[in-house]
Every structure is written in structure tokens, then in C-alpha cells.
């Protein structure tokens, strides 16, 4: 029994993950080659073996426990029978999908004074050729041999002592590795980088805050641009036809005190469209000009084609942390649709250009100002999913408000630069939902209520299913057309990740990190 297993492992590891394979990820649904499943960020699996008829028989087959109590946010990649996961804080493990046994481990020693506002987390790896790429909490980008875990190169992206860190899963595009930066609570100056995949040499850098004299620099008062944050900590999408990268940017710094940075604060809270070869900006759209509520636009942009007001267009969907659902033209950045998808009290609405019209008395204050949505927003970094079979767009939404406080905007290098804070609204019941939207209009088709606001993303499949998970530890499957719950499993720890699906030896599986363990389910 054992000999064929060994043979299978050796043979499968010889395959190279070329750019062309990632480009056509839909044609090999047994593998999960990039963070969101494909470049359009659909997080959709074309596998149908697990479907609405038999999902009630789904069982856990194996689990892998991390040795960390930090939040486990990884999206696994699966290539020809081998699963590559990142573990907090900045480790990588290759697992044999047939047994759950580790094949190799990369364990990164970290300095003892790394900074991370919200946990020493990592959301996953990228793979290209025979290299696996991971960003680290001390702000390096590291390339590992996919068969051994050996470090092939290790590039310093930024100085961690100034508050920079990397939590994002990198994105492999052509011959480059695109990686964003975190540190929006430390007054860093944000950027998005691309590195040569083979050598680790930097190919381009796009500063998300323009320097003096550059267009957009007039949206920052004085020297505030130097500490304006606008980080890039969630993996974006890529359209090979336009050769554009779509990437969201984070909050301006300091988060809750905007007095020191008067102006719109470009390109904070934006969706950027950048040329993938040069990093040059094609267009930008700012969701929350002069944000004072920490509403990063670091959600996953999802690329679909659809009809808006009778005209077929190339779209990008963006349900934003600020509680509005946006549809933009992805060729031009033109604003097409914008409407609230959860409770919000901060804006009277959006004008014709998509710019919010602020409601009075919603700025953070010393006594606290009660505003919806909460600081975590209507949704957050975790992934939505688009299902081309149902033509529905599924988002795990958060219904909650926060009390927002203003505070000292004191900058010291490497220390938190928040200018205030937040807490939950007393006596207010918070809840969440999986909501199915008509992608092009943002109209709600169905809703599956969750007991509390989620911190975990969704996967949809051609088996007519939507998979998700809850803060109370359940993994669940819903009927993709109706939202009817069909299956659930209590995994014993809060969900902080995104599910995937893959197949090995002709059998389909679903994998998701729950609590401090990764679970694999099958029939």
C-alpha cells in the first residue's frame, strides 16, 4: 500500500507552476494555484463531486495543528497533491494532502521587537515555477524551494523597526511577485512592490502616497504624507487582457485624528489599477476621502463582466468596509453603482461620481461618537466569492457599530500612530450574514444570518454550494441558489480564514483553517 504513495509524491512534485497555468487556473480545478483561486479573485471551484445532493455526508478527514496561538488566517495553495500553507507568525509548511503529514517546514527566526498592530498573522503563500513565496512579519519577501523548503533568496522589503510588516499573500504575475505592506497603524508611507521572481530584485515600487510635487500630493497637509499609511495588506486581482493589477489601499494615518492631515489623503482607501509590468497608475477610485474611521479599502477586488444599465461592461466589484457596495468599470475606474449593503450612519449617500456626502456629527470625539458601520466595517480583509454558475456574488457581511474616539496624533518612529481609538457600542446586538448579491446591481438575493459578525471568507463551487465559517467555530455549506443551510461541522475554534477546494486522485476536498488548526473535509 505504501509504495504507490511514495511514487505519487515524487512524481507529482516534478510539476512546475508556470504563469500560463495560473492564467488558466479554471482548466485545472483540482489545484488551487493562487490566493483567490484565479486572477479574477472569484474564489470559485469548478469541482462538482461534493454538491448539494451529498454535502450532508461531508466529514473531517485530517487536521493539522499549528504551534502558534496567533490567528491562523492562511489560504492554502494546492499543487499536484501537495498543500502549501503559511502559519503564524511567518512560517511555511508543505503538507502531503493524502495523509496530512508535513513534507517540509520553513521556520523563520524573528527579531524580538517586530511590530504588528493586530496579530502576527500571515494570509498565505504564492507559487511560481519551483519557488514558494512568503512575506514575513519582519517585512522580508522570501523564496523557498517548493520541494525542500530551502531559502533561495531573502529580500528586505522594508525596515520592520519603522512599523512595516508583511501579512499579505503575495501574487505571482508573469515573471514577478507582487507584494503589499502592512503597518497602517504605525504611520508608515505605504507602497506596493513587485520583485523579479527568480532573483528577488525589486522590479518596481508604487508609492501609495505621492511625494511632493506629484499629482495628489496636494491632498496632504504639510509633511503629513510622510506618515500617511495607505498600506496594501490584502491580495489584489489581475486582468491579463488589460495587464492591470487591481489592489486596495488601507486607512490614512493617524487612523482617527484627521486634523493633522487635512485633504482627501490620496491614495488611502482607494482601489488602484496599476500596470503589472511597470507599476504605473492607470486609474484610482477613492471610496472614503479623508477617512477618520479606519475603513481600509483592503478588501478583495473581484473582476466580472456584466450588464449595467443595459450595457455589457468589464466590472470590478468592491463591497467596501465603509458599508457601501461599489461597482466600477475596471477599464476606466468609472463609478457605476454604489449603495449601502449594511447599516450605516456616516454618509447621507454618494454623489454622481461616487463620492460620499458625509452626515453631520459623525467624526470621532473625546467622548466617543456612535457610528455605523463598526471599525471593522461591513466586511473586511477576508474573501468574498463569485459563482459564474449562479451569477451571484457572496459576501460575509458584518452588522455592527462602534464608538469612535479622537486622541493624540503623536508620531514616534516604530510606535503606534492612531490618534484615537474605538470600542463596541454598548447594548447593541451585533450580527452577521452571508449575503448573495446580484453582482452588477448590488441587489440582495438572499441572506443567511450568522449569530455574530464573521471574520472569515467564502468559497463557492460548481456543486451549487457556498462554504463559510463562523466566529463560534462552525464550518458550514449553503445552497448556492437559495442560501439554505445543508451541512455544518463544529471545529472548536473561531474562523479567521478563507476556504478552498481541490482534488487529489480524483477525489474532491474542502480545506479551511479554523482556530489554530487546518481541517480537510471529504466524502
Amino acid at each position: 500500500v505504501r509504495a504507490p504513495l511514495v511514487f505519487a509524491l515524487v512524481s507529482s512534485l516534478s510539476a512546475q507552476v508556470t504563469y500560463e497555468r495560473i492564467l488558466k487556473a479554471e482548466t485545472e480545478p483540482g489545484n488551487w494555484l493562487t490566493y483567490s483561486g484565479n486572477y479574477s479573485a472569484h474564489r470559485f471551484s469548478a469541482l462538482t463531486q461534493i454538491n448539494e445532493q451529498n454535502v450532508s455526508n461531508l466529514k473531517p478527514l485530517w487536521a493539522y495543528q499549528t504551534n502558534s496561538l496567533q490567528k491562523f488566517e492562511t489560504t492554502p495553495l494546492v499543487v499536484d497533491g501537495v498543500m502549501y500553507i503559511s502559519e503564524p507568525p511567518s512560517n511555511v509548511t508543505a503538507l502531503d494532502t493524502r495523509t496530512g503529514r508535513p513534507i517540509w517546514k520553513y521556520r523563520r527566526p524573528l527579531p524580538d521587537d517586530v511590530r504588528a498592530c493586530c496579530g502576527q498573522v500571515n494570509r498565505g503563500v504564492a507559487i511560481l515555477g519551483d519557488l514558494v513565496y512568503v512575506g514575513t512579519i519582519d517585512a522580508h519577501l522570501v523564496a523557498l524551494n517548493s520541494r525542500t523548503g530551502a531559502v533561495m533568496w531573502d529580500t528586505t522589503v522594508a525596515n520592520y523597526k519603522t512599523g512595516h510588516s508583511i501579512t499579505v499573500a503575495p501574487l505571482a504575475v508573469k515573471d514577478k511577485i507582487v507584494v503589499g505592506i502592512a503597518g497602517g497603524e504605525y504611520g508608515v508611507r505605504g507602497f506596493l512592490d513587485a520583485y523579479d521572481a527568480k532573483s528577488g530584485k525589486r522590479a518596481w515600487r508604487f508609492w501609495t502616497i505621492p511625494g511632493p510635487g506629484e499629482p495628489g500630493s496636494e491632498t496632504w497637509k504639510g509633511d503629513s504624507w510622510k506618515t500617511g499609511s495607505a498600506t496594501t495588506w490584502v491580495t489584489g486581482a489581475y486582468d491579463p487582457q488589460t495587464n492591470l493589477l487591481y489592489w486596495g489601499t488601507g486607512n490614512p494615518g493617524p487612523d482617527w485624528n484627521g486634523d493633522v492631515r487635512e485633504g482627501d489623503n490620496l491614495y488611502s482607501d482607494c482601489l488602484l489599477a496599476l500596470d503589472a509590468d511597470t507599476g504605473k497608475r492607470k486609474w484610482h477610485f477613492q471610496f472614503t476621502p479623508h477617512d477618520v474611521h479606519d475603513w481600509d479599502a483592503t478588501e478583495v477586488p473581484v473582476l466580472v463582466d456584466g450588464q449595467v444599465r443595459g450595457k455589457q461592461r468589464k466590472l470590478v466589484l468592491f463591497p467596501n468596509r465603509n458599508a457601501f457596495y461599489y461597482v466600477l468599470d475596471r477599464l476606466t475606474g468609472e463609478f457605476l453603482v454604489g449603495k449601502p449593503y449594511v447599516k450605516q450612519t456616516w454618509a447621507k449617500g454618494l454623489d454622481d461620481s461616487g463620492r460620499p456626502v458625509r452626515a453631520p456629527n459623525t467624526m470621532p470625539s473625546l467622548d466617543g461618537t456612535r457610528v455605523w458601520p463598526s471599525v471593522a466595517g461591513g466586511n473586511n480583509w477576508y474573501s468574498p466569492t463569485y459563482n459564474p454558475k449562479t451569477n451571484l456574488f457572496y459576501v460575509a457581511v458584518r452588522e455592527a457599530g462602534s464608538m469612535y474616539f479622537i486622541g493624540d496624533p503623536e508620531y514616534k518612529e516604530g510606535e503606534q500612530f492612531n490618534g484615537g481609538g474605538f470600542r463596541s457600542v454598548p447594548t447593541e446586538q451585533e450580527w452577521g450574514a452571508v449575503t448573495a448579491f446580484d453582482p452588477a446591481t448590488g441587489d440582495k438575493k438572499w441572506e443567511h444570518k450568522l449569530f455574530s459578525p464573521p471574520w472569515a471568507g467564502l468559497l463557492s463551487t460548481a456543486g451549487n454550494l457556498v462554504f463559510g465559517s463562523t466566529t463560534e467555530g462552525q464550518v458550514f455549506a449553503l445552497h448556492a441558489a437559495t442560501g439554505k443551510p445543508l451541512w455544518k461541522f463544529q471545529a472548536g475554534g473561531a474562523a479567521r480564514s478563507n476556504p478552498i477546494s481541490y482534488s487529489v486522485d480524483g477525489k474532491q476536498y474542502v480545506a479551511v483553517a479554523m482556530g489554530n488548526s487546518l481541517y480537510v473535509f471529504g466524502i
Binding site: 507568525p89 521587537d113 511590530r115 502576527q120
Partner: protein, 253 residues
């Protein structure tokens, strides 16, 4: 490897601790600024004077979890695990200023509630019949929450208010639940836990029940407790005596 792991773990919680043990921000201006910060962030639970709310009583000369300046700093910065005390992302100076103001609360005196703890203990056992529903030091019932260390966890003013209006600021796991199953069984009790798909309930005889929500025909979770108000059952002085007794539970402050 293990050594490295332990080393890292220790540092996760001590990363941005100040280097000094003593609060360097204690001037009148710092305390004034700390008072403003406290009003926004802390008063909601601890009360404007530190003596009222669901948060611990801060209007005492010594704080059990904030004995030293650095200990108090840690509690504010990181919160207390498994309690409602959250962490606070503020600058070091702000946390120190807030700490400086919290220290002044202890000099405000014992607060407005003056009672006789000995008489209070007798009332808890006798006329108040508190032990019918609550455990104190291993003795009593289990319908309500244990009061064994309530004196450390809740302020006297909060306890006084609770005796008069028990449903205010109800703990999530003491809501009254009424439900009916699809096969006709009815049940009422208190909610012990709940999630998207299930609910766990304790009935008044301490029977434990668990239901999938899909099997329920009716489910209501009310924001009230089954505890009666003592506003008319006891005199003002008797209420104060009970609070004085409860304040002694959980060891000296």
C-alpha cells in the same frame, strides 16, 4: 526550537511596553488629559468616578490588578483575558495619563454606599434569600451567577443598582430563554451559549438542554433576568449592608 518559540511568545505580549516602571506623566495637566480619555474610554463600564458600572471598582486605595504603575499600564494596554476588560491601542503617553487619573480615583474615598458587612451577610443568608439562587464560597444555589468573587469584579455602586434593577447590563449567558420544539415540547430557562445553528439552555432545575435551531418552532431570547428587584423587598440600609458584604468577597482589594 522550543526555546525560540517560548522566547517569541513572551515577546508577543510585551512588545510595546514602556521601559520605565514608574509613570512619567503625572502632572496636573497629564491628569486632566487622562480624565478626558477616561471619560470616553473607561467611564462607560467603570463609572465617571470609578465606583459604578460593570467594570471593577477603581475608587479604592489599591487596585488588585494594578498594584504597580507598570501593572496598571499592562491592564489598560492589553486588557484582561476572559473578562470584559478590552485592550487599548493608545500612545504610551495616553495610557500613562489615563493611569495617572485612575490613581486619583482611589483618593476619592469609599463612595456613597455605607453598609454593615456583618448585617449584610445575615441578610444574604436570611431575609434576602440570595443563596437560594447564588453560590457564595461553595454554599447556595446555581440559578444565578456565583458571587464568590463578585466584590473584586464589580463595583459597589454597580451591585447596588443590580439589586434594584437586575436586568440592566445583563450578562449574555443569563438571558431568559423561552422556546418550543417542533414536536410540541416547551421550555424556559437561561441561555448558557448560542451560535448560528444551536442554543444551550439551563432550566430552573439546573437541567441542561441543547437544541438545533432548525428543530425549534419558537425561540425568544429576552434581555431580562429571572432575578426579582429588591427595591421594595429590602430597605435602603439593608441593600447597602448586602453590598458592603458582597464587596468583601474575593479577598481584600
Amino acid at each position: 526550537m522550543l526555546m525560540v518559540a517560548l522566547f517569541l511568545f513572551q515577546h508577543i505580549t510585551t512588545l510595546d511596553l514602556p521601559t520605565q516602571d514608574k509613570n512619567p506623566y503625572t502632572s496636573a495637566a497629564d491628569i486632566e488629559q487622562g480624565k478626558k480619555l477616561y471619560a470616553g474610554r473607561c467611564a462607560g463600564c467603570h463609572g465617571p468616578e470609578g465606583d459604578g458600572g460593570k467594570g471593577a471598582n477603581l475608587a479604592t486605595p489599591t487596585l488588585p490588578r494594578g498594584g504597580t504603575d507598570l501593572a496598571l499600564y499592562r491592564v489598560i494596554r492589553y486588557g484582561l483575558p476572559d473578562t470584559e476588560m478590552p485592550s487599548h491601542n493608545m500612545t504610551q503617553r495616553e495610557i500613562w495619563q489615563m493611569s495617572a487619573f485612575v490613581r486619583t480615583l482611589g483618593r476619592a474615598g469609599e463612595g456613597s454606599i455605607r453598609g454593615d458587612a456583618k448585617k449584610g451577610e445575615a441578610l444574604v443568608r436570611g431575609k434576602g434569600a440570595c443563596l437560594g439562587c447564588h453560590v457564595v464560597n461553595g454554599e447556595g444555589g446555581h440559578v444565578g451567577p456565583s458571587l464568590t468573587d463578585i466584590g473584586v469584579r464589580r463595583s459597589p455602586l454597580y451591585l447596588r443598582n443590580k439589586l434594584v434593577d437586575p436586568s440592566q447590563e445583563l450578562a449574555a449567558n443569563y438571558s431568559v430563554v423561552k422556546l418550543a420544539t417542533r414536536d410540541g415540547k416547551k421550555l424556559s430557562g437561561v441561555r448558557m451559549n448560542e451560535d448560528t445553528y444551536s442554543i444551550q439552555v439551563r432550566d430552573n432545575n439546573l437541567g441542561l438542554h441543547s437544541f438545533w435551531k432548525q428543530d425549534l418552532a419558537e425561540l425568544s431570547v429576552e434581555q431580562r433576568t429571572s432575578m426579582p428587584s429588591y427595591a421594595k423587598r429590602l430597605t435602603d440600609q439593608e441593600l447597602n449592608d448586602i453590598v458592603a458584604y458582597l464587596a468583601t468577597t474575593g479577598g481584600p482589594q
